[in-house]
Symmetry: C2
Subunit: 386 residues, 2 copies
DNA sequence: CAAGATTGTTGTGGCGTCCAACATAATGCC
DNA sequence: GGCATTATGTTGGACGCCACAACAATCTTG
């Protein structure tokens, strides 16, 4: 908690405030629940909650008593006031949302583009949308976060490389902070998706988790180890798409051959399905419905490739759960047993410690919820000035 | 630091004691240096050091003043009294050592075996050796650690699988604790080697590190992320040997084909070198001296395979440094540029953030120093009762 | 409606660190 | 050699934070 620094007493206070706030962010809880999970004294929890209420970060509902004996404990829920601006630039659009604590998407807007938006266009669209989404007094913006389809340096939100957008060394966080007047962060989209699934989705409560996201343009992911997001030295850990799984093969988006991303592609599945484009639900329905030979073969091929990469990841990181998102979720649904068997065949032979492979639980708001976690994480790190 | 628990004042004290002790364990430091790195007050550092001295964990040397203006600051060094027992069972021997804080190997003993030692034999040999290494009053045993060539559950030191020793679900830590009368831990040998290189070797000061160890029986490793050893859900993260890198190929020690361990093998190098067996120095000398075609080809083949696995690991974890130990150190030395280029070709194209690939710095004491870190880590977690 | 149970509230005490003033011990200049 | 300067150890008092205990509040149960 204090890192390499010496701990002072006021840091204890900050830590405990963050603990309560983060817990309430995960899910509303009564004061007595907070007391139990934190191990702190009732009186201390009372003081902490009171301070957070003072700061406008949480609210207390009187209602609670659900048939329990004893004095009812007030339910502590995140306040509606603090709002994070989440931005997700893509090939053909920029999506902007206002997100409340608890991962509640308050309002969302999609601004279409004909060509990939430039950084300036994306920031401009985000700033305008933010003003529309949050008319005066509708909330207090605590920060902003950008989910970028590319390699992002997490420390300062510099987009090192976003091939599909054509961005290269773009200080997107800085630009957005300038435009909005609040602090902004940026990170890889799949890595933020991982965080969202971890906090609110299929990875809830799990401490060692790997999330793998299959997007139209490639495969990415995120790693949570010991309850902490693994960011790596410069913050772009989690690039599962570039795991090497075979010799030769086709090239992926960064020109490397035989990687997960070059073998497991949504476009190849669309092709055998005879579809031009499809939204996630249509895609999955088509994949499950079509039992033709070419589709079965392609699914088998891709599941086998995915299994190699997952097994490598499992042997490397020993997660207790793997969450598959994007089109990988549909791919896994098309052959779940085959996938599980292929993974088990290549992973360490510990049959009584099987890895739990699941489908992502969050829908289209995934990346926006994840992007909002960037400013919220800052809030948790130091709840008071916010 | 406090995990999910609420922080209390006495935990701050414990944290700060551990901070000082761990820092002194890394390298002796003056009190003023401790003040600077911790950010704590002079008076607080004084009190913390005094308490650690009281407990017999550190000592203060009067000498220090190296031409500096001002009152000289006493040098704080780890005490000689606390000793950890380190045990490393292998195919043909059990090595036991007494290790002091600071990673100083006080005494070492190798007990030879004709057949792989059984758990009982290994523990018996360790207990006997410990008595010989530490006659009465030569120190206070703070705990024991076992470096096992196999898959070990870190939480309780259960050997899940050690194929070369023929061990399966052996509670080795428990057995050793029973025999020695102190707490004992156990972990995978390569993972402990990673920790040793991180603390005292080529990974010193680095916060995001991957260590890869090439042993006679296979390839293993360890991951440090954000200054914390990644242990995974059950503590056997770091099995780099079983990363899949190609289709087909030979089987590795757990029967999977086309893994790093099946492609990069010491025995294959020994074979082309025409050697039956060789110690590490002889092996490296022979590899560097022999420029014949078969040797060059085999080195190239293995370097290429290693590069695929390293690049996958880099893309997954974004470490700032990779340390190669065991025979991989010699392999890298035989073709350093080729390795660097092959890795760069498959890693994310960020040429200004190159990964620093280095050879291990610690010698034959690596695993013993790493094993000793297990009990020492416990000591740091709670310095007082120890 | 009373007993029992659980939780919020309040005031006191202990613990750990910071701070400021003072003491100590080196260097550097004369 | 003596004195100013500088850096650090040492000591006592103050502040902040949490635990604890006693009391108050409010529910369920019979």
């Amino acid at each position: 908690m204090f890192g390499d620094q010496g701990g002072r007493n006021d840091l204890v206070r900050r830590h405990n405030l963050a603990l309560v706030l983060r817990r309430v962010h995960l899910a509303p809880a009564t004061r007595s629940e907070l007391t139990r999970v934190s191990g702190l004294n009732r009186s201390t929890i009372g003081a902490l909650v009171a301070e957070l209420v003072d700061r406008g970060l949480v609210v207390e509902d009187e209602a609670a008593g659900a048939g329990q004996v004893g004095r009812p404990s007030p339910l502590v829920r995140p306040s509606d006031a603090p709002v994070a601006i989440a931005v997700n630039p893509e090939l053909d659009a920029v999506t902007v949302a206002a997100v409340r604590l608890g991962g509640r998407v308050l309002a969302k807007e999609r601004i279409a583009f004909d060509a990939p938006p430039s950084p300036e266009e994306a920031v401009g669209a985000a700033a305008e949308a933010a003003r529309r989404l949050l008319p005066d007094g509708a909330g207090r913006i605590v920060g902003a976060g950008v989910a970028v389809p590319g390699v992002v340096r997490r420390t300062d939100g510099l987009v090192r490389l976003a091939p599909h957008l054509g961005w290269h060394d773009v200080p997107i966080a800085e630009m957005l902070a300038e435009a909005l007047g609040v602090h902004a962060g940026a990170a890889n989209d799949a890595s933020l998706g991982a965080q969202a699934e971890w906090v609110f989705g299929a990875g809830r409560g799990v401490v060692d988790l790997v999330y793998v996201h299959g997007g139209a343009s490639g495969v990415g992911g995120g790693i949570i180890s010991g309850g902490v997001l693994v960011s790596g030295a410069t913050g772009h850990a989690g690039e599962l798409g570039h795991i090497g799984i075979r010799r030769g093969g086709e090239s992926d988006t960064i020109g490397v051959r035989g990687t997960l991303e070059s073998e497991v592609r949504r476009s190849a599945l669309l092709q055998v399905l005879g579809l031009d484009r499809a939204d996630p639900d249509e895609f999955e329905a088509a994949l499950l419905a079509d039992g033709s030979r070419p589709v079965r073969d392609e699914v088998r091929r891709q599941v086998a490739a995915l299994a190699v990469a997952l097994a490598s990841t499992i042997n490397l990181l020993n997660p207790s759960r793997i969450v598959l998102g994007g089109f990988l979720s549909a791919l896994a649904a098309a052959a779940p047993d085959r996938l599980a068997e292929a993974v088990a065949a290549r992973a360490l032979p510990l049959p009584d410690e099987p890895v739990d492979i699941r489908r992502a639980a969050l829908g289209s708001d995934l990346l926006l919820i994840g992007a909002a976690e960037l400013p919220f994480a800052r809030l948790f790190a130091d709840p008071l000035p916010g």
